[in-house]
Each structure stands twice: as structure tokens, then as C-alpha cells.
């Protein structure tokens, strides 16, 4: 069906690249509105304390200060999906991010200075920073909204899942291994720091927000709830975003605070984080402790997995608390496994709260799972590549959780990286001397066709063609740098025969664009792409009618190419813009416009978390080679072989960009990134001490797309965005363990950790 595609599958640069490379893209960080004020937030000095008093008198009087607000000045609802997060804290603070007061002033300097004039009297408390401590019987309740839920324990969210007969599977197991893994807190470090500009119009009582949210319609609803407003009185405009990676899935207190300052002053207000504030107050990946027991029978078939996860929720709940949705998938359905039992707890502590981050729990789950596979293979004396291939998922499989693998490239991905890395030929890697070499494997499974976790997983599109032959796509989906605009434009170009420079994508205004859930779950190309194809089909019916009439032929004879509609039979053609003009201007008159709403035919999971939650599933495998310097503990990631089931390559250039960027984030997770906390305080809030990787650190990435052509995806494509970083840390850890013949149960594998392990020659 895809034989002669003119646009799809070709390496077109991003259609919005020119504005980004000339400095003309206006990011939220660049916005200036007339009469705009600058907001700043006073955060607590202690991670856990009672607030005895707040004195804002000196700050309010300082010249240039227009408004100072505390919890006493506002009438608002809590935020977060559990509604357990007060926007401004009253009476107590529970983590180092906590917002106590906010200032709007004529300049950012004045606003920041005014913060220093606010006097807060605290009664400092000990605080609880360890989730196991927080669950003890005598532990005080950290978040009072947890009262009367879960027996008055510090529990935010609990999940249980199981399939298969655990006891029977244990009985047939030849090996059974248990481990505890400890995964760190890392953060997105988007280069563009968090920002918002709010403009409340006092006369018509409408609120305009320039926000970086990646879920504008959910955000509109949430902020309306927080501010006790009507959602339709709030318009969200999404300026260009300086990186997302999941960090803009939740709404955070600074956003309604900025709106409140604007409501109070009737002037536009902007809040822009400094890098330090970004480190302290923007979300993190879920840190967790994973207890896992796995088994395999004597021929290496996986038998069961038993998992118990302790997640440090921090003081409030974010979407990140629902990462077990994704982790359950990995544990229950990545490789075939007879039985699985999964439990997780998200526990309130006085640490900062974690949000969602590309991969959404999957890097953690995959790390534990893939480490265990190596351990089992070792014990059974089975080759670590062979055991993976043997247990790989297959097309047609329905997993214990009820996921339907209508297409499945898992095995092909594994076989590709095994052969491309020449693993079978390089059995004798250097395991002696200063520099030791190792190779590690890991796979991953992730949703590839959206995820039905809200009432709708749909996306709307309106498409129109103007009388000059230009096409405008108004899509519910959002662009956060991932290239969705370009992919949509390519689809329209392909179907309508319009060149890319004549296609515009409108996607940043809730007053204009149709409903969409938002950017998450690697869903945009799949869901927005299908939605667009639906709209195009309707539009083409209209165009066909007119063109067939003019060309005196029938629909099936029409072909859209290079701005023309051709009749093959008649050997005639007509310009597309002419057809549109004929539609518009000759009676009865009709617009060249069409709308379509696409809802994937996936299902909600039942109460047991079973069901076919996505329209498609993506698979990948990575083989990674490392060199470890045993004198310094430095790990050099040399080669990454990655094969990924992408369904169909829509744009190889953008696809490679997603793969490479994701992998490097995964390498950082494996070897260098960690937010260090001491009693709830962040010790490394800057790029000097929180190491993201640089151009010098990159491995050679060898990418092999696997095309399984999923009939549900646009042109056969599946979601790709999150997958590349998911198996990376697992494969690196496996490679390092292989190189040193040691075991690691913690990330990141810093030189220090490596040296300690070497010195003690025991597992850490």
C-alpha cells in the first residue's frame, strides 16, 4: 500500500526549524506584554515546619511592589490529581519547594528583593525523608489530605496486579533469584526553564495564560478548578517550549499563583524560574526501591515475577504516582512469563514530589527486569542473548495482562542487535588489566498507540484549504520539540499533493484547536496522525466531487499530485486551488474544510488492570558496549546498537533525533545523573554538580529501525518518543557488570560507586 510515497519515509527537516535556528521563535521565556509585572515566589526555609506567622508588611511597602499574596489572601482549591496539594501553604510546610508567599513587582529585581523582606516564623520539625520510616505506625501524617484513606498511613497510591498461578510457576522453576534495586531521583533539566505569563482582564473576567503545558485541555480544566473559575473563561496559549520530556504533564503551584497575581493586580504577570529554582522546584523521575523475585525453568523459560515497589512520593501527589500503570505492563508483558504479581506503594515523605518523565516508570522497571535476566542466565548457564530471544514476545500473543500484540518486532529487534554488535564473535572481551570491556542487552515494551487512561484518548483535527491552495491543519495535539508539526504536515502533503512550504500547522490555542488529551504516552504521531487522516478523507470527498465534475470523471480516477488533481483516464488535470475556488464561489458554495475526531479502539483496563489499553505496542532492544577504567571508575559507553519496532518510519531524520536524544538521556540516567538530597534539601541544584552529558560523552549509536507495519497506525507507524531511553540504563548496567564480573543494584554507576565495588569486590 505504501509503494510510492512521496513524503512519508523521507528525511525532511522540521518545518519549524528555521524559526528556531534564527532566534525568532518566541519561547515562554521571551514573552513581554505591555504593562507586565514580574512575579517571584517565597519558598520555605525548612522542609518540614509549622508556620507560626508570616509578615508581609515590609515587602508590601517596598517601592515597585504591586502585590504580595499568601494563603490568607486567596480563595482556591487544591491542585494535583489527588487534590492533595495546596497552591500556597498555610500553617505548615512539608517539602523544600513549598510556596508560602508570592510577589508581583515592576521588575524581577524588585520582586526578588521583596521576598527577602517577608518575615516568616517557623517551628521546625524533624520531617521524614525515608519512605519506610514514613510507613511506621507512629509516623505522623505528612499530608493531611491522606487522612482517613489507607488507614491513616502516609500512603498516596497503592497498586496491585497479578496474573497466572504463582505457586505452580514457582514449582517448575529451576532458578529463583531475589534482589533489591535502588533507582535514583533524576530530573528533566529542560534547557528552557519553567515559565508562565498570566493576563487576567478585569473587565471581562477572562484569563489568558501563556503556558508550557503539554496537556492544554486538561490543564485548562485543572486551573479552572484551582481558581474556582469557568474553564471556558480561561484561554491557554502554548508558546514555543524549551523542552518537555514529561515535565509539563502536571500543573504546578507557580502557575495558578501567577494567575492569582494577575487577578489581584489586573496586569499581566510573568513568573520565570532561574536554573537553581528549576532544579529545586520542577519535577523529577520517580525514585524507587524495587524488590523483585524472578524464576526460570531449566531450559530458561521465564516462569514468574514477583515485584514489590516502594516509591517515594514526596509531600504531594503528581501524575507520577500512576507510573505503576506502565511498570505493570513491563513486568507482566515484556517477554513471555507465566505468572506475575505486582505491588507498589507511593508513600508520602517530606522530600520533593516526583512528576512524570519520559518513559514513565518504565526505565526503572526495565532496569530491574533486565538485570534479573542476566542473573538467571548466569545461574542456568544459558547465554544471555539466547535466553532473551527464547522468551521474546511474538506477533499474535495476548499477554497475561491482556495486551494484544497484533504486530510485534521484539524478536527481530533482539536478533538485530545481537548480530549487529557481533556479540557471538566477541566472546572474549578484555576482562583483565586497567581497561575492561563488557557488553549488555536489554529490551523494552511501551505503548505505541496512545494509552486509554482518561475518558478519551482521542484527538480532533480540522483541516482546510484556502483559495490559494495552502493547507491549514488545526490539530488538538501539541508541539514540544518532538517534531509533530512536521509529521502532520508530511501526512497532509502526501495525501493532498501539496508541498510542505504550503502547509501550516495551528496547534497552540485552546480557543481554536479541537480537543486532545495531550502529549504523553508517545501518542502524538499515532493519534494525531490518524485524526488528520480521518479529516483528510472527509475533505477529499468534497474536493473529489467538485474535481470529478469539472474533469468529467469519477472519484476513483482522481490523483492528488504537486498542487493538482489529475484525471488519469482523461489525461486532464486541474489546479487544486482552482477546485477550492470553484467550491467556494460557485453556487451553492461550500467550504474546503473538514473535521474529524479520532478515538483509538483501545480499551480501559478493568479493576484488575487488565485489558488492551493501547492501539499498538512498541518494542525495542539495545546492545551496549562499555569500557570501564578500573583505576578511576570511569565508564565509557562506546557503542549502542539499538533496534526499535517503530511500525513504519515516517521521517528518518526526526526519528533518529528522537532515538539519539533518548539514548543520551538514558546514558545520563545510567552513569552520571542524580539529585542528591540530605534531609529533604537538594545539594546539587546546578549543572556543575548535576551532570548531564556533553558532546564529548556520546557513544556511537547504531540504529536499526524495524518496520512491522501496524495496520492501526498512520501508514503503519507506532509511537517512538519514549522508547529509546527505556532500556539504555539496564543495558549499560548489564555491560558494566559483565566487564567487572561484579553486581550493581543501584544507579547511577558513578566512578565512586564503581571504585567502591572494585575495592570491596562485592556487590553494592
Amino acid at each position: 500500500m505504501n509503494e510510492d510515497l512521496e513524503f512519508i519515509g523521507k528525511p525532511f527537516p522540521k518545518i519549524d526549524a528555521r524559526m528556531r535556528v534564527t532566534g525568532t521563535a518566541v519561547y515562554g521565556n521571551d514573552i513581554i506584554l505591555p504593562n507586565m509585572l514580574y512575579g517571584a515566589i517565597l519558598r520555605t526555609a525548612y522542609p518540614s515546619a509549622l508556620i507560626e506567622s508570616i509578615d508581609i508588611s515590609a515587602a508590601s511597602k517596598f517601592p515597585g511592589v504591586v502585590s504580595v499574596i499568601t494563603a490568607d489572601d486567596v480563595d482556591v482549591n487544591n491542585i494535583s490529581y489527588k487534590r492533595d496539594h495546596p497552591i500556597l501553604k498555610k500553617g505548615e510546610v512539608n517539602c523544600i519547594r513549598d510556596e508560602i508567599a508570592a510577589v508581583a513587582a515592576e521588575s524581577i529585581e524588585i520582586a526578588r528583593h521583596a521576598l527577602t523582606l517577608i518575615k516568616v516564623r517557623y517551628k521546625v520539625r524533624q520531617g521524614i525523608y525515608d519512605p519506610y520510616e514514613a510507613l511506621k505506625d507512629n509516623a505522623p501524617l505528612i499530608n493531611k489530605y491522606a487522612e482517613n484513606k489507607y488507614n491513616n498511613k502516609n500512603l498516596a497510591e497503592v497498586f496491585h496486579y497479578e496474573h497466572g498461578d504463582l505457586t505452580a510457576q514457582k514449582n517448575i522453576s529451576k532458578v529463583i533469584i531475589s534482589r533489591r534495586f535502588n533507582l535514583p531521583r533524576v530530573t528533566h533539566t529542560c534547557l528552557g526553564t519553567s515559565n508562565i505569563t498570566a493576563h487576567f482582564n478585569k473587565t471581562d473576567k477572562k484569563l489568558l495564560l501563556y503556558s508550557s503545558t503539554q496537556v492544554p485541555f486538561l490543564y485548562q480544566r485543572d486551573i479552572a478548578h484551582a481558581l474556582k473559575m469557568n474553564p471556558s473563561d480561561i484561554r491557554i496559549i502554548q508558546p514555543v517550549i524549551g523542552g518537555g520530556f514529561g515535565s509539563k504533564l502536571d500543573m504546578y503551584p507557580f502557575e495558578p499563583i501567577c494567575a492569582l497575581l494577575s487577578i489581584k493586580t489586573g496586569r499581566p504577570v510573568q513568573i520565570l524560574y532561574s536554573r537553581e529554582e528549576e532544579f529545586i522546584a520542577s519535577p523529577t523521575r520517580q525514585p524507587m526501591i524495587i524488590d523483585i523475585t524472578t524464576g526460570a525453568d531449566k531450559s530458561g523459560n521465564f516462569t514468574f515475577r514477583e515485584i514489590n515497589i516502594m516509591k517515594d512520593n514526596g509531600a504531594y501527589t503528581s501524575w507520577g504516582a500512576t507510573t505503576p500503570f506502565v511498570m505493570m505492563q513491563a513486568f507482566s508483558s515484556l517477554y513471555k512469563v507465566g505468572a506475575c504479581s505486582f505491588d507498589s506503594k507511593a508513600v508520602y515523605t517530606n522530600n520533593v514530589f516526583a512528576g512524570s518523565f519520559r518513559g514513565y516508570g518504565n526505565p526503572q522497571a526495565t532496569f530491574a527486569l533486565e538485570r534479573m535476566i542476566d542473573l538467571m542466565a548466569d545461574k542456568l548457564g544459558i547465554d544471555k542473548a539466547d535466553i532473551r530471544v527464547k522468551n521474546a514476545n511474538q506477533k499474535g500473543e495476548i499477554t497475561g495482562q491482556g495486551l494484544h500484540y497484533d504486530t510485534c518486532g521484539h524478536r527481530e529487534c533482539l536478533e538485530t542487535v545481537i548480530s549487529k554488535s557481533e556479540y557471538k564473535k566477541i566472546q572474549s572481551l578484555n576482562k583483565k588489566g586497567r581497561y575492561r570491556h563488557g557488553i549488555g542487552f536489554a529490551s523494552m515494551l511501551h505503548v505505541g498507540g496512545g494509552a486509554k487512561i482518561y475518558r478519551s484518548d482521542g484527538c480532533g483535527t480540522t483541516i482546510k484549504i484556502d483559495p490559494y491552495g495552502f493547507c491549514i491543519i488545526i490539530t488538538g495535539s501539541s508541539e514540544i520539540g518532538q517534531g509533530s508539526e512536521t509529521v502532520l504536515a508530511m501526512i497532509a502533503a502526501e495525501e493532498l499533493g501539496i508541498e510542505l512550504s504550503r502547509i501550516k500547522v495551528i496547534n497552540s490555542d485552546t480557543d481554536v484547536k479541537p480537543w486532545d488529551v495531550g502529549v504523553h504516552a508517545s501518542r502524538t504521531s499515532f493519534v494525531a496522525g490518524n485524526s488528520l487522516l480521518g479529516a483528510i478523507a472527509i475533505l477529499k470527498e468534497k474536493l473529489n466531487k467538485k474535481a470529478a465534475f469539472i474533469l468529467n470523471t469519477d472519484f476513483s480516477d482522481l490523483q492528488y499530485k504537486k498542487g493538482k488533481i489529475n484525471s488519469i483516464k482523461e489525461g486532464k488535470s486541474i489546479d487544486l486551488d482552482k477546485v477550492v475556488r470553484e467550491m467556494h464561489f460557485s453556487p451553492p458554495g461550500e467550504l474546503a474544510i473538514a473535521s474529524y475526531f479520532y478515538e483509538p479502539d483501545s480499551h480501559f483496563q478493568d479493576k484488575e488492570f487488565k485489558g488492551n489499553v493501547s492501539g499498538s505496542y512498541a518494542f525495542a532492544a539495545q546492545a551496549i558496549k562499555v569500557e570501564v577504567d578500573t583505576y578511576t571508575g570511569n565508564i565509557k559507553v562506546i557503542d549502542v546498537y539499538v533496534a526499535q519496532d517503530v511500525g513504519k518510519v515516517l521521517n528518518p531524520l526526526l526519528l533518529a533525533g528522537q532515538i539519539e536524544g533518548g539514548i543520551l538521556q538514558g546514558v545520563g540516567y545510567a552513569i552520571s545523573e542524580e539529585l542528591l538530597f540530605e534531609k529533604g534539601r537538594l545539594l546539587n541544584p546546578d549543572f556543575h554538580n548535576y551532570k548531564i552529558l556533553t558532546a564529548s560523552d556520546i557513544p556511537d549509536i547504531h540504529f536499526f529501525p524495524v518496520e512491522t507495519n501496524d495496520k492501526r497506525g498512520p501508514y503503519g507507524a507506532k509511537g517512538v518518543g519514549e522508547a529509546p531511553l527505556i532500556p539504555t540504563a539496564a543495558a549499560i548496567a548489564n555491560a558494566v557488570c559483565d566487564a567487572l564480573n561484579l553486581e550493581f543494584v543501584e544507579l547511577p554507576l558513578t566512578p565512586e560507586r564503581v571504585m567502591i565495588a572494585l575495592r570491596e569486590n562485592i556487590s553494592i
Partner: protein, 178 residues
């Protein structure tokens, strides 16, 4: 007393003049003014970013007499009499792209784009650097940086989106274009 002194000194304005993207400009600044703020806030050129403001990320890179500097740490007063090029000045006056920008576009080296201005100017600076080396009489062979040199040169430019591969590809293409 100390504070008073400092305030008075802070208030004292200094007049500087320099060339900004090929145009002679003047500004009255405090001695403490940072070049990045002068560019963004006074001259309203928002293409230069300030992602960390502590010399760690390179998003604020501009060219000072063809040499890349972190404008977030650079005292504006030291720009007096110099040539400053920002991303807006890299773009040609008719709006067409410099070869470095074109290479970034064609090689997919910009995703969210927040690092891109800094990256583009750093690459441009590398070009100038090699031009200078090759023009200096001491060397007869033509030097061009290899991939490793490019990586080393770009170490100060953080990018969270691309994984750098495409950025290095773009730099290679732009440099070969000589």
C-alpha cells in the same frame, strides 16, 4: 556606609559603544551589567538565551570579535569597542540562513531549539578559529577539525534533546563547506 557606597557606584552609568550585528550602537549601562541582559533586555534581541546564567550551558553564546563567549558571565562594559554577533546577526540581512544555520536545519540538529542559538554561534566560532589558524603564517597545511575536535569545542553547549549526534553532523557539514 559600605552599602551606600556600593549603591552610589551601582547607580553611576557608563557609556559604551560597540558594534552589534554589524551596526554601531551605544548604551548607558551600570558597571555591573551583564552582556546577556544588555542584549536581551535593552536591545530586545531574544534569540540569545540564558538557560543557566552561570556559565555552564552555552545557551547564551555570542561572538565577541568572532570568538564565542558566554554572555551570561561577560561584563557588558568589556564589550566597548568590540564586535558582537548574536544569532539575529548570523542570519543574513535578506533573511536567508548562514551556512551554519542551514546545516543545523538540514541535519535535524535542532529539536526544542533552546540550545540552538548558542550552538550555531559556537560552530561559527569554530569556523573562525580554524580560519585564523590557517591564515597564520606558521602553518602550511590546511587544518580542519575532526569529529573529536568538534565534540571538544562544543562541550560547553548543553543540549537535552538531540543527543548531540545531529549537532556534530551539522558542524561537520558547515566546516567542510569552507
Amino acid at each position: 556606609m559600605m552599602k551606600g557606597n556600593r549603591n552610589r557606584k551601582e547607580k553611576q552609568l557608563v557609556r559604551i559603544s560597540f558594534s552589534l550585528n554589524g551596526q554601531k550602537v551605544e548604551a548607558e549601562i551600570k558597571s555591573s551589567t551583564i552582556l546577556l541582559d544588555l542584549i536581551r533586555d535593552v536591545f530586545s534581541l531574544k534569540g540569545t538565551k540564558g538557560a543557566c546564567r552561570e556559565g555552564e550551558c552555552g545557551s547564551c553564546t555570542v561572538l565577541l570579535n568572532d570568538v564565542p563567549v558566554n554572555s551570561c558571565l561577560f561584563p557588558a562594559i568589556n564589550a566597548n569597542g568590540k564586535n558582537i554577533t548574536t544569532i539575529e546577526g548570523l542570519t543574513k540581512s535578506d533573511g536567508s540562513l548562514d551556512e551554519v544555520q542551514e546545516a543545523i536545519v538540514q541535519n535535524g540538529a535542532s529539536q526544542c531549539g533552546f540550545c540552538t542559538s548558542g550552538v550555531a554561534l559556537a560552530i561559527k566560532g569554530l569556523k573562525y578559529h580554524y580560519k585564523k589558524l590557517n591564515n597564520s603564517k606558521k602553518i602550511n597545511a590546511v587544518l580542519t577539525p575532526n569529529r573529536k575536535d568538534i565534540k571538544k569545542w562544543l562541550e560547553g553547549n548543553l543540549c537535552r534533546c538531540t543527543g548531540y549526534v545531529k549537532i556534530i553532523d551539522a558542524a561537520e557539514k558547515a566546516l567542510i563547506n569552507e
